[in-house]
Each structure stands twice: as C-alpha cells, then as structure tokens.
Symmetry: C2
Subunit: 347 residues, 2 copies
C-alpha cells in the first residue's frame, strides 16, 4: 500500500516533540467496537504485547474483555498492578517464574504456558496455580509436539497445577495474504490443537491473532492484539480494522534534488516488516537511525521544513516498544485528547 488510501484526515500541527505515536480516536474506537461485536467478552483475550499500554487495555476491558494475554513478566506485573488481573495468561514460556508469585499472592489470576517439564517445574516452584499446555501447531517456536501434550498435562497435574486447556499459535498462518489459503493454514493448525485438546482436556483452547480472528473457529478464545492499532502488514491482508496508529514526524530538511527528510528513524519504528508508509503519498527511500528519507508525493504546497507528516509503521509491536507514550488525537486530528504512557515496556 502506498498510504494514499488511508481513510483519514492528515494531521496539521500538534504541539508534540517528534517523533511521537498518535492514536486516531475514531479509528481506535471503531476497531475496538468491531472486534467486540465479532468476538464479544471472553471470546477475545486481547494480547497486550502489541501496545504495552495499560490505559489501552482498560479501554479493551470497557468493551467487555476481562481476560488478557501477556508476553512478558513485566506485562503481567503492570496489568495486575493496574487492577486488570482478573485473568492473565502469560502466553509464553519462562524458565524462572519467581516474580509472578507476588501477583498470585496479591489475588491476580495467573496462568502460564508450559511446553516442557522444565517450564512446569518453574511454574510449580513459583506457586503458579494454573497452566495451559502450549502445543506446536506449525510455527517453529515454542510449543510441544502434540504427541507429548498428554504426558505434559499429566506431569503438570501431578505437580499440583490445574491444567486449563491448550494453547497453539498459528503464527505462520496469520499473515498469509489470500484469505482461502490463510483459512487452510489456520484449519490445519487447529486440527492439531483440537487433537491436543481431546487428550489434555480443560476449558480453554486459546490461539489465534488479528490475522485469524474470524477464521479460527476451533479456539474458544482469540489472542488478537494488533487489531486495536493496526499496521501496514496486517492492512495488506484485508481486515476490517482501520489504521489507528501513526508516527508523527517533522520535516527537517528538503533537498531540491527531490527528497525530503523527517525525524522518524530506526529508533522510532520496528523495521522487520520493512519501511513505513507516508500518509498522503510519498515513496520511502530508506530509514537511518534518526531519519526517514523519502520522495514526496504531489503535496500541494510541497513539504517545507517544520511541516508535520505522519507515517504508518509496517509492524506495530516493535514500533510501540520504542516509545514512551501514545497520544490520542481527535477525529479532526487537531488536538491531543489524552496521553497514555506505554507502561509495559522492558522485561
């Protein structure tokens, strides 16, 4: 996508030090409402790793989602400290769960993913009461072989842990562009997870992401996170969510030979999915540590030093993790309505 089709007004001038993350209030509200309509209440377990912001998670709870997914111990800690600890799943393996003991003692409901005897032992030692058995459904990452799921569930129960069910993330499927092909990949993965669930038992079949939220009908709950803010990678596969997130940048140099430089570089953008997209048009040449160099579109008037522009990141998660705050801007994008700290960064 080239950014010209972004369905919102271009920001004019905000009194913010750039680069700064903007959240379009209307697009964000639309995304939360759309998802809550499609996957209401406990059908969605929002993944906080995409935004690392407890204020944003609070908005997700306000539309009905009370259980959350985390990727790091710090995310678990901050969520619990903010009163969002009704049902927290650490959807990740940890070799040392000690820090989670405090959360359990303070009354948070803490569940962790396990895929080995070592991670079961770690949960047991830390006094974590509940686990899910993490099963490899095709992405070469964490997760046990489906054939080992039963033995691990037995081992966990023998260790005194309650086994709430199974988890299996079809991360290799969620980004597939063609919907039919994506559906097939999701189905193949979920056939594996369903088999594991038959063996393991429990109430939870937890899986999925923004790219499979409406394709994964096996999971009892979907762990989507990106849908709230979105990025160009997910937009490219045709989802019913709007770009809520952008990076505000300031033009600092305009070269008559045909390029423009703005102050949004590698420390303000996750780059693993490629370059950002200039809102309103313009072709990004490259990013360096503090800069993006791009050829402007048909801007009228042409860009000038001091102008503010917006860029859409290619990957939301590692972009947000660089920033201290999310600035919520109103529908006309003329004022900052609220500023939310990105308070779950780090580990």
């Amino acid at each position: 996508m080239d950014g010209t089709d972004v369905d919102r007004v271009r920001v004019t001038m905000l009194n913010l030090q750039t680069p700064a993350l903007l959240v379009d209030e209307a697009a964000f509200a639309f995304n939360l409402a759309t998802m809550a309509d499609r996957l209401p209440g406990s059908r969605l377990r929002p993944h906080v790793k995409a935004h690392k912001c407890s204020e944003l998670a609070r908005r997700q709870r306000e539309v009905g989602h009370h259980a959350f997914t985390c990727a790091t111990i710090r995310e678990m800690e901050v969520m619990a400290a903010c009163g969002l600890g009704d049902d927290l799943l650490l959807a990740n393996e940890v070799a040392d769960a000690t820090r989670l003991s405090t959360l359990v003692e303070a009354g948070a409901r803490v569940t962790v993913a396990v895929d080995s005897v070592a991670t079961i032992e770690a949960a047991g030692r830390a006094g974590i009461p509940e686990v899910v058995i993490d099963v490899n459904v095709g992405l070469p990452r964490c997760g046990c072989d489906v054939e080992d799921a039963g033995a691990l569930a037995d081992a966990a129960r023998k260790r005194g842990l309650a086994v709430r069910g199974v988890m299996g993330y079809e991360g290799h499927a969620v980004g597939i562009t063609g919907r039919a092909e994506r559906q097939r990949a999701v189905d193949d993965s979920m056939a594996v997870l369903a088999r594991a669930h038959q063996i393991v038992g429990g109430d939870l079949v937890t899986a999925g992401g923004t790219g499979s939220f409406d394709l994964n009908t096996v999971a009892t709950e979907i762990q989507a996170g990106s849908y709230a803010l979105m990025d160009t990678a997910y937009a490219a596969i045709g989802l019913p969510f709007r770009h809520a997130l952008s990076v505000l940048a300031t033009v600092i140099s305009v070269n008559p030979a045909g390029w423009v430089v703005a102050d949004c570089g590698l420390k303000a953008l996750g780059m693993d999915h490629g370059n950002p997209t200039v809102v309103g048009g313009g072709a990004v040449w490259f990013c360096s540590d503090e800069h993006v160099t791009y050829a402007p579109g048909d801007d009228d008037p042409p860009p000038a030093v001091g102008d503010q522009i917006e860029l859409l990141p290619a990957h939301v998660d590692p972009t947000v993790a660089y920033h201290e705050a999310l600035h919520v801007v109103d529908a006309e994008r003329s004022t900052v309505v609220e500023t939310w700290p990105v308070d779950m960064r780090g580990w």
Copy 2:
C-alpha cells in the same frame, strides 16, 4: 560471520532478567583505549547516539574526549545535565530548537547543524550561539548542496550566529566492505566537504564514523559512536575494535526436531541490518516479537531450558535504544560489575 570466532569467553549464569544488554568490560576498555590512541582528545567527538548512556560517555571523557556529538535534543539535555556539556554538537537539523535555550543559559556550549534558512532561523530564535553548515557529501539525507554552503554561512552570520565550520557525514561510505573502495568513497565525499570548508571557513571540519575513523584525514574531528560497543555489521568490514556488546537471553524451549527458542526478539534487537548472531555458534532462523528461533551449533552439552546464551546484534544503535540499562560484566563474564542506565532514550 557465524559467531564462532568471537574472541571471548561465553557467559555462564548471571542473575539478570533477560533479555539484557551486556558490556564486556575488557573489550569495552580495549575499544576506548584503541580509539583514544588513534584519535586522541579532540580528534574524536564521540557520537552518543550509538549508546545513549551518560555513564558510557563519562568513560569516553575519562580517556580524553571532551566534545561530544548528539543526534537528539534529549541527548543534548541529558549530556548537559550530567556535566558533559563542555562542547555539544547536535549533528542533526531541528525545526524547533527551543528546548536547547535552557542548556545555553545554564552554561553548556551548544552548537547545532543547519542546512537551510529555516534551520538557521530555528537556531537564532532559540538563542543558540554557534552552528556548523551541514553539507551533503553523497548520502541522500540532510545537508545542503556544496554550492549553497557559502550563502547559508552568510545568512547564519547575518543572523548573529557564529559559524564554527562545516559538517558532512559520509554515511553511504562507512559500511563499504572493501577498504580500498571505502577509502575512495570517503575521499570523494571529503573532497566535497573540503571545498565547502574553503568557502565557509571556521575551525571545524566535522565528519566520519566508526567505519571511516582511520580513512578520513580531511575531518578535523571524527564523529564515531559504534566503536565503543560494536555490532556484527561493523565487525564484518574489519575494524580494530572488539565486540563489547551482546544481548543475554534465556533458552525457554528446546524442540527435539532441531531448534531452540530464546527470549530475545524484535523488541530487544535493531533488525534493519538483519538477524543477530549466536555467540558460540548456531544458525538463527528468525526473530519474532519476543523470541529468537535458531538451530544450535555443536554445544556440548546441548542447550537446555534455563541456559543463558548471548547474541551479537547486527546494529548497535537501534538495539540499545530498546533497553533500560547496560550491564558491564567482568572479563570472565561471571559477575555484573556495574549497571549503567540507558538514560538518553526518547526525544
């Protein structure tokens, strides 16, 4: 490089939450001493953008470098607040320099790069006393055309600003692998900068980076930053600096089918230069938000859940910018000697 040739002992077990940045004390001291020998005192103006750590900058001052290069206003502010404001160059254009006024009033020596009338005006409005004329020497980014350098210098002087000289970063040259080819590219760039200097005047010809520190003989001072910590991209071009920086990670899953997962992902690594390298061997398959998946080398014993490993980042600057602290470890890598906050993050 595959990481097997890394000339230091593999870390055993440190009591740190992972992922965590490690600085090898001996390698770091070697790098600082080597550079201070080759470019003593004011011949080096260390660039703090690579490490964003005032404690590290303090060590650079201890070996004789009193003038520093910054890329952001926050870096300028923190350096001045830490008593490192003898001579700070903001080697970047800013459309609004207002925040720097406070530093000037507090007695820091503040110089900013300008490449347009608009940025000269911004410096003037903020009461910045000194500037350098930033000249484009071949990298399509900031910097005026050499033909415009004289007029800009005149405009700056008319605005009451002292013009200390010229700046021109040969960023397109510093990463060229072949030394002879790199030398040619540096020479071509510096011929342009020398011409600009003839026109503009002033004491400073400020340029260069870690990749050209010993090739650039035109610059009166070199703005190297990466040399202190290093990364695999710079190591690949054959420089006399050692890998001081690594990311400590914990193995959280070992799959019998042949891969290992550790807790160092896209939010702990700058990815624009590619995947990290596993110290001691091992082939990285991919990184995702919180994970690296890799095929282990000939580790004996093989990796187990809970083991700590180290990874060398491909690009130091955007890696450090994700982390809260640098942990200095001793030569045998068995203890953390000091922990330095990465206190210049953000903008």
